[in-house]
């Protein structure tokens, strides 16, 4: 050990720099590499995979998962979990659609659901932080309430005749579909904020060791409430992107949505034990799934394999995370 520390005291040469980058951003690089390799291989087998329309459907069609995974990543980094996000997105999308067809301006239809997401999740965060109920329990409860409430209120009716200017996910900016911009810009902002912001550091500290963070004078409870509220904001944005993709809104909860969001965070390198990970990783992972799902279609493989593939990826990622931790304990 002492020999290697002597060696590392000298200025880093290129390979050492690369090794260090890999140590710090290993999972993000693995996911990015997998994405590139997958697209190259599938594109070689079936060039239509890389066509404009398919790329739009992969990246723009799943951007809402990446957006929701930004908030989820913060929640998991803070040492918590939220299994209710899928239900919340379903509820917020229905609220947005109802407001839109009810004659309200599109801004009302967009911003009210986002505010509602912040409010609902702030309450969940307060239950976790102040009532000390584990987040898995709080959000399991919230999942049932939101899901049940949605079905009771709407009886599963579809909302149609949405005004055209409300459908933001179908708009383009500089020729690129807007959901892609939302995912990219929000990811970059949050990534920078998590890396360079004092509050971002507090989130990592609370998830890494809540007792030590509290002893160091960090307001751990307020931090957790804020993290959940921020997560609510991203769930709101994700809901708007989700419900404006099509001309109608099915007022139900998209099946497995929360799992897809959590999976994106975990495979993107956010440790399920809290304290580490980045939103760049979770966004890349969300895009990777979308690319895998589409590849299965182009390679004519049953879509049921997708779930199996995702499951294997989760297990592999968590095992790698544990191994990394064990090696350095």
């Amino acid at each position: 050990m002492s020999e290697s520390s002597l060696a590392r005291a000298r200025p880093l040469r290129a390979p050492a720099r690369l090794a260090r980058a890999f140590e710090a951003y290993g999972q993000e690089l693995v996911v990015l590499g997998a994405l590139v390799v997958l697209m190259a291989v599938v594109g070689a087998v079936n060039p239509r995979y890389l066509s404009d329309t398919n790329l739009v459907s992969i990246f723009a069609g799943n951007a809402y998962i990446a957006v929701a995974a930004i908030g989820m990543s913060l929640v998991i980094i803070s040492g918590n979990i939220d299994v209710s996000v899928g239900s919340l997105i379903g509820v917020l999308g229905t609220i947005a659609g109802t407001l839109a067809v009810g004659g309200h301006s599109r801004w009302v239809a967009w911003l009210v659901p986002i505010a509602a997401g912040v409010a609902v999740n702030a309450v969940l965060g307060a239950l976790v932080a102040y009532a000390r109920i584990p987040s898995i329990v709080v959000t399991l409860g919230a999942m049932s309430i939101l899901r049940g409430g949605l079905i009771s209120a709407t009886s599963g009716a579809w909302i149609s005749d949405l005004p055209g200017d409300f459908l933001i996910a179908q708009k383009r900016f500089l020729g690129v579909p807007s959901p892609f911009w939302f995912a990219a810009v929000l990811t970059v902002i949050v990534a920078i904020w998590m890396r360079h912001g004092a509050f971002g550091r507090s989130i990592y500290a609370v998830g890494g060791n809540a007792d030590a963070a509290r002893a160091a004078g960090i307001r751990t409870k307020e931090t957790i409430v804020a993290v959940f509220a921020i997560h609510g904001f991203f769930a709101g944005v994700a809901a708007i992107l989700f419900c404006t993709q099509l001309q109608v809104i099915q007022s139900t909860v998209p099946p497995n949505l929360e799992l897809n969001v959590i999976t994106a965070s975990v495979i993107g390198g956010v440790s399920i034990l809290g304290g580490t990970g980045t939103v760049v990783g979770s966004t890349l992972a969300a895009l990777l799934f979308a690319a895998i799902a589409s590849a299965l279609i182009f390679l004519d493989i049953s879509a049921y394999w997708l779930r199996a593939v995702l499951g294997l990826m989760i297990l592999a990622t968590v095992l790698a995370d544990m191994a990394r931790r064990r090696r350095t304990i």
Binding site: R20, G197, A198, N209, A216
Partner: protein
């Protein structure tokens, strides 16, 4: 006399950290062999190898001359080796007899538990331990520590072991109970049992041991007959240098009173504690585990706030409802449990060092990374943290270096009052001396230091004044001239006058 257990040239490392290197050790029939060494010297690893919990990486373990490889503690038990760990492994809801025979209870011919035989044999075992007052039908959860320990010894003896390993058996016993325990150990020796006795209390070692082996930094410094050694020679074997250099607290000019507490009580066991500490002073707080010393620190620092009493900082009464408030008042607390309250192990050194001063290294919420790195480099240099740089993860550091990171974090907050809880527990001897030198230095710079420690030599060597806690109360105060090992030790272990719990 032949050796019952013999270890030759044992080496063991964990994750690249060497815990034992080339250690040889043996214990003979009818002998008490004491194993001495500071925290982190390798005592626990050695006895865990004897007990079958760890396999050595290299070297041979022999039982009665025959090489063995223990795959589990069960294998060791089958070979007649019984181990009593410091933390007693008993089931509080079961009775004494059930605990003694858990796992190898006598059976009737039909295969059901033979309760009569179990109770009778438990009774006989306890009587042989000179404990006729202990009922075999009592629930273990209601027993005193000393009695629970007797149950643990009876449990070990129920398997008729040839070797008994005792890991710091007196760590939490009062003096009367210690004497009784030593009598039991002598009786076992007369019966021919080979006893490995781990302790760092020298008085006991001289009272009971036939031979003593000293470990330091994972190596055996030497094995001696007890008649060949003195207390001073053992201590210098343990620490590797003459004792007088070990505790460098010099005389300092005392300034004004920085911290005063009056009648402080807390929900978890601090009762009516009053004291004060001045700038430039190191106030030692001695006490056994569970005496309320850590709880006192937690109350002052606001982690478990006080429920009654007054705290004055700089002569002004303050209300401390949380660590944030304490920090803002200039109080720093370096906890006993680094892993739990000290470090964020998944963070780098840089991130740990600036954790308590995030608002000072950030402008408008944006962290100044260059300033962070500067602080981390300065900490690495000042505290001689052995690391490859500010970006190394805290969990990759050794215990002593982790402790230095925690110290650096709190000193970076420029406190005026520093509370250190077991500042040198579990760190190697070299790092220990560095921490002690640093404390003296800080006192000279005018910090008021409260040092909690269960290591008497440290308390006596470092403190200007010593307070002793016992069952949540302050039971003694000694200035430097009057703080002797006997006086402080007696106050630490004195039983309370009435049975009030």
């Amino acid at each position: 006399m032949p050796s019952v257990v013999e270890l030759s040239d044992i080496t063991k490392s964990f994750e690249g950290v060497t815990a034992l290197k080339g250690v040889s050790f043996d214990v003979r029939e009818g002998e008490v062999h004491a194993l001495l060494g500071e925290n982190g010297a390798g005592k626990s690893t050695l006895i865990r190898i004897i007990a079958g919990s760890h396999l050595p990486d290299a070297g041979v373990l022999r039982v009665s001359g025959e090489p063995v490889r223990f795959g589990s503690p069960r294998d060791a038990r089958r070979r007649g080796i019984a181990t009593i760990y410091q933390e007693l492994l008993l089931f509080p809801e079961l009775t004494v007899a059930e605990n003694v025979f858990l796992g190898n209870a006598p059976r009737t011919r039909l295969g059901s538990l033979d309760w009569a035989a179990m109770r009778a044999r438990a009774r006989a075992l306890l009587d042989s331990l000179d404990s006729p007052d202990l009922s075999v039908d009592a629930k273990v959860g209601g027993l005193s520590v000393a009695n629970r320990q007797r149950v643990e010894i009876a449990k070990a003896l129920s398997q008729d072991p040839r070797v008994l390993v005792m890991d710091e058996p007196t760590a939490s016993l009062a003096q009367a109970d210690v004497d009784r325990l030593l009598a039991v150990v002598r009786r076992l020796r007369e019966r021919g049992v080979a006893v490995v006795y781990v302790s760092h209390r020298l008085a006991e070692v001289f009272a009971i041991a036939d031979r003593v082996t000293v470990l330091r930094d994972g190596a055996a410094v030497g094995t001696r007959a007890i008649s060949e050694v003195t207390e001073a020679s053992l201590v210098s074997m343990m620490v590797g240098r003459p004792v007088d250099q070990l505790f460098p607290k010099g005389q300092t000019e005392l300034g004004r009173t920085m911290l005063e507490v009056r009648g402080l009580s807390s929900r978890d066991g601090v009762r009516d504690v009053s004291f004060s500490v001045k700038a430039g002073e190191i106030l030692g707080i001695a006490g056994l585990v569970g005496s309320g010393r850590t709880e006192l620190a937690l109350a002052i620092f606001g982690i478990a706030p006080a429920t009654a009493g007054e705290i004055l900082v700089d002569g002004k009464p303050v209300r401390i409802d949380g660590p944030r408030r304490a920090r803002d008042l200039g109080i720093a607390y370096v906890p006993e449990d680094r892993g739990q309250q000290g470090l964020v192990r998944s963070h780098t050194i840089r991130e740990n060092v600036t954790l308590a001063v995030l608002d000072r290294v950030a402008r408008a919420g944006i962290l100044d990374r260059a300033e962070e790195t500067r602080r981390a480099r300065e900490a690495i240099e000042r505290f001689r943290i052995r690391a490859r740089g500010p970006e190394q993860l805290a969990r990759q550091l050794s215990g002593g270096n982790q402790q230095k990171v925690v110290l650096a974090k709190w000193l970076g907050a420029e406190p005026r009052i520093l509370i250190l809880d077991e500042p040198t527990r579990g760190i190697d001897v070299g790092a220990k001396a560095e921490v002690h030198a640093l404390m003296s230095d800080l006192a000279r710079q005018g910090l008021a230091i409260v040092m909690i420690s269960s290591e008497l030599p440290e308390v006596l060597g470092m403190s200007d004044r010593v307070l002793v806690m016992n069952r949540g109360r302050l039971v003694g105060e000694f200035d430097r001239a009057h703080a002797t090992a006997d006086a402080v030790g007696a106050a630490m272990t004195r039983a309370p006058r009435e049975g009030a719990a």
